[in-house]
């Protein structure tokens, strides 16, 4: 396994969309059992660009447009994965999980256990997450907590193209089901707005990023900002703003929720004594609560102040940009949370 980090990646920058497609193409070249299924993944190249070019190179047998039948084709992926194939299947928006969650969580995630480890289900379920571009309450959710809560599937959430490529390659090679949640605002598709920080140097050769290891995206001493996906970029901006005030923030990019790298989070908080969790998923019963609890139950004494969260409130996602932007996490809210923490 070649592990590469963002620093030794040379200078070629890729978007996450291209990084995902490149990892997929490389694995498809190397392994004939890898194939792709989903809505509009073929000639269109995926609504979010992450299968672009694959149809031209591999044809319609291995890059399959499906009917709008998520239960059937995700169920089919489970059946194919247990029969020697390595399907990569796309749920176009994570918001649609409700029409097909049984195939995902009761079969994909559990068949290995039900078989005592004898049936492998090596498949990747890719799905887009996130809002911020006024797509309304059925097309803007993150649902990180929803997937991470249910056992039997790994859950990865990359924040940049380097990690996306390496995590995608690792996911395809993993003998377990992996849910690959990519945030639309990071895809580098102009029409969704583009978080520049996600488009980073990405090696051309194939490599993996280990699933289950968080990254310290910025080293700091004064406060730990923990996030994932798009939230990492809010944290990095907040860290910059705090830096101008002389506050040295550390930013932890979880990269995966299952397995969850509690060690890295705890080590960081042990150093800084302060924790702010930033999550675009719903506030309650999700990622932010889990991270805070994981620290508090482990070592209360290391905390110099009550931990805080900057999460999406427990409301459906409103369409109007005024309301949606107000509700989303951003760097200012993180800086405010830090100030409030210090004033208590």
């Amino acid at each position: 396994m070649t592990n590469t980090t963002a620093t030794d990646s040379g200078s070629r920058k890729l978007t996450i969309a291209r990084a995902m497609a490149e990892a997929t193409a490389q694995e498809m070249r190397a392994d004939p059992s890898v194939f792709v299924m989903g809505e509009d993944v073929g000639p269109l190249g995926g609504v979010f660009g992450n299968t672009r070019g694959l149809y031209d190179e591999f044809g319609g047998e291995r890059v399959r447009d499906t009917p709008i039948s998520e239960t059937a084709f995700i169920g089919a992926a489970v059946g194919a994965a247990s029969d020697g194939m390595r399907p990569i299947v796309e749920l176009m928006f994570v918001d649609f999980f409700g029409v097909c969650m049984d195939a995902i969580y009761n079969m994909m995630a559990k068949n290995t256990y039900f078989s005592g480890g004898k049936v492998k289900v090596p498949m990747v379920l890719m799905t887009s997450t996130g809002g911020g571009y006024s797509d309304g309450g059925q097309h803007s959710q993150c649902l990180y907590g929803t997937f991470a809560h249910l056992p039997g599937m790994k859950v990865v959430v990359p924040s940049n193209a380097h990690d996306a490529k390496g995590l995608m390659t690792a996911a395809i090679r993993d003998d377990n089901p992996v849910v690959f949640m990519y945030h639309k605002s990071l895809q580098g598709m102009g029409w969704l707005g583009t978080e520049k920080g996600a488009t980073v140097a990405t090696p051309e050769q194939s490599y993996t990023v280990e699933i289950g290891k968080a990254a310290v995206a910025k080293i700091g001493q004064d406060v730990t900002l923990v996030s994932l996906g798009a939230g990492v970029h809010h944290c990095l901006r907040a860290a910059k703003a705090l830096g101008e005030e002389g506050v040295d923030a550390e930013v932890v990019d979880l990269r995966s929720l299952v397995p969850l790298d509690r060690e890295t989070v705890r080590a960081s908080v042990a150093k800084t004594g302060r924790l702010i969790v930033v999550d675009e998923d719903y506030h309650s019963f999700g990622v932010s609560g889990e991270i805070i609890a994981s620290v508090a139950e482990h070592d209360l004494a290391c905390l110099k102040a009550a931990p805080r969260r900057v999460a999406y409130p427990d409301i459906p996602i409103p369409f109007a940009p005024t309301m949606e932007q107000w509700a989303l996490p951003n760097a200012d809210k993180i800086v405010d949370a830090f100030h409030q923490m210090m004033s208590q």
């Binding site: 073929g42 009917p67 409103p318 109007a320 107000w326």
Partner: protein, 328 residues
């Protein structure tokens, strides 16, 4: 069942209104999105699914409906909303996300809810069907008048919800009509690549209900088929499935490059645009002349322009209103 002359003109007027609305939305949607197309920008951000070309489906069905009847539509709802009589000002304001919008801007264009005329929709494929069946059940149980109509795309006919809802409606003999707008595409996937049968009305027999096909985006063909189905429903004879061959003149949503279309398809569809065709028919039938048409079109446009002005002049809700109406 043939439309009366009044119904003919009503249908034409609704089609013209919807089309003009969509053309104006198209232009306004692009504001702020050039030279670089970014969905988040401009006065109307987010996805935008236009229904140009599909107006016959909406008007031919809604010609038979009153405010008390229930319609559940899809992610592509404008033409149906117009024909169902959704408050135009409040709907356009909703599309702009304004306080005066149907939900104050919480829903947006994919979530048009107007309780006054029993109109709603869902952005999830296939999910119009269960609620329509449920509304029909509600009328049956309450002994209240009114039928329910679920619209769906031909792509949605491959979603499990389709099967479940049709079976339920048939078993319970509910006063509901299922109307498939077959525009031949589900985003970039052609009907024949995703559907095992050439026509979805053939699937009606799997639910022991009548299946009716309307070819060629024919306004009056829709009128007749829907009229019979809705009459059946009103008389307590149970559900019907209708598939209408229609045309999506625009992309799936705005910003769609439409490279997947076979060459010449779009031009061919535009040549068979149902609105000029119907105008011609009405002129030939002596129901319309140039002057009357100009007046009717002018009125329709003015209604739309008034709604747009209303929306533009409205304010946004204060941002923290986002926290309200999660629960009543």
């Amino acid at each position: 069942m043939q439309p009366t002359n009044d119904q003919r003109l009503w249908m034409y007027r609704q089609m013209v209104t919807s089309r003009h609305l969509e053309e104006r939305i198209e232009a306004l949607y692009m504001e702020g999105k050039t030279p670089v197309f970014n969905m988040a920008k401009g006065p109307i951000p987010g996805e935008m699914h236009l229904s140009n070309g599909q107006e016959p489906c909406a008007v031919g069905v809604c010609a038979h409906l009153d405010a008390e009847d229930v319609v559940v539509a899809t992610h592509r709802p404008h033409h149906i909303a117009v024909a169902k009589g959704v408050d135009l000002n409040a709907m356009v304001a909703e599309i702009f996300g304004k306080a005066s919008g149907l939900s104050g801007g919480r829903g947006g264009h994919m979530h048009i809810f107007d309780a006054d005329v029993n109109f709603s929709c869902s952005g999830i494929i296939g999910e119009s069907l269960g609620p329509a069946a449920g509304a029909a059940l509600s009328r049956k149980m309450q002994g209240k008048p009114g039928v329910a109509v679920a619209f769906l795309g031909e792509g949605a006919a491959n979603q499990g919800a389709f099967h479940e809802a049709l079976n339920l409606a048939a078993v319970w003999k509910l006063p509901v009509v299922f109307v498939i707008e077959d525009n031949a595409w589900g985003i970039s996937v052609a009907k024949q690549a995703s559907t095992a049968v050439p026509r979805n009305d053939l699937r009606a027999s799997a639910y022991n209900m009548p299946g009716v096909h309307v070819a060629d985006n024919d306004v009056e063909g829709v009128f007749t088929a829907a009229g019979e189905a809705i009459a059946r429903a009103r008389e307590g004879e149970g559900p019907t499935l209708i598939e209408i061959e229609t045309s999506r003149l625009a992309g799936h949503f705005m910003g769609d490059g439409e490279d997947y279309r076979p060459e010449g398809e779009k031009e061919g569809l535009q040549q068979r645009d149902p609105i000029p065709r119907y105008r011609q028919m009405l002129i030939e039938a002596g129901l319309l002349d140039e002057a009357a048409d100009t007046e009717l079109v002018g009125e329709a446009r003015e209604r739309v322009e008034a709604a747009i002005r209303f929306a533009q002049q409205s304010d946004f809700l204060p941002p923290e209103a986002a926290l309200e109406t999660v629960f009543v």
